[in-house]
Symmetry: C2
Subunit: 96 residues, 2 copies
């Protein structure tokens, strides 16, 4: 699978803010922030939208560099890229 993730240098503020400016995605990020110790799978977000829709929003978050997605078996484990975001845009995540 090898899902593409942007590197830290590639993180673009306008892209990230645009991606975060959506209620569904903000809900996903809030959920990830509340569970930072434990990676979540896509299924955990089904209360925020349909399966297809969540897959779409999770791809947006990953492509923007907000989240990291790794394939484990048939699941995807999703985590916030807190360290990378904090290094590149200090305070952004904390303010959300």
């Amino acid at each position: 699978m090898a899902l593409p993730h942007p590197s830290v240098e590639q993180l673009d503020l306008a892209t990230i803010l645009g991606v975060l400016g959506d209620p569904t995605r903000l809900g996903i990020v809030a959920c990830l922030a509340r569970n930072e110790h434990r990676p979540l799978s896509c299924g955990q977000f089904l209360d925020l939208g349909s399966k297809t829709n969540i897959s779409y929003h999770l791809a947006k978050l990953r492509e923007a560099g907000v989240t990291k997605t790794e394939a484990v078996g048939t699941s995807r484990l999703i985590t916030l890229r807190r360290d990378d975001l904090d290094r590149r845009f200090p305070g952004l995540l904390a303010s959300i």
Copy 2:
């Protein structure tokens, strides 16, 4: 004229992030942040887009509560609502 501005309580994070997630508007905000001592008029942003287009983006920023616009003569003086934003979403502006 009496341009409408949202109150501090009405500021909505998703709306603000969505509005900031656009290169033109991020450029405007960066410009305002660099000139926080002196209010700017719409004309100062014409390198970022056409007159109509800038008017459109400035309205978005004002409606989201990012900027304050006051009419002075035939001009509009535009400033960042830093205090309001800092109170409601501490650290957000600083991270940008």
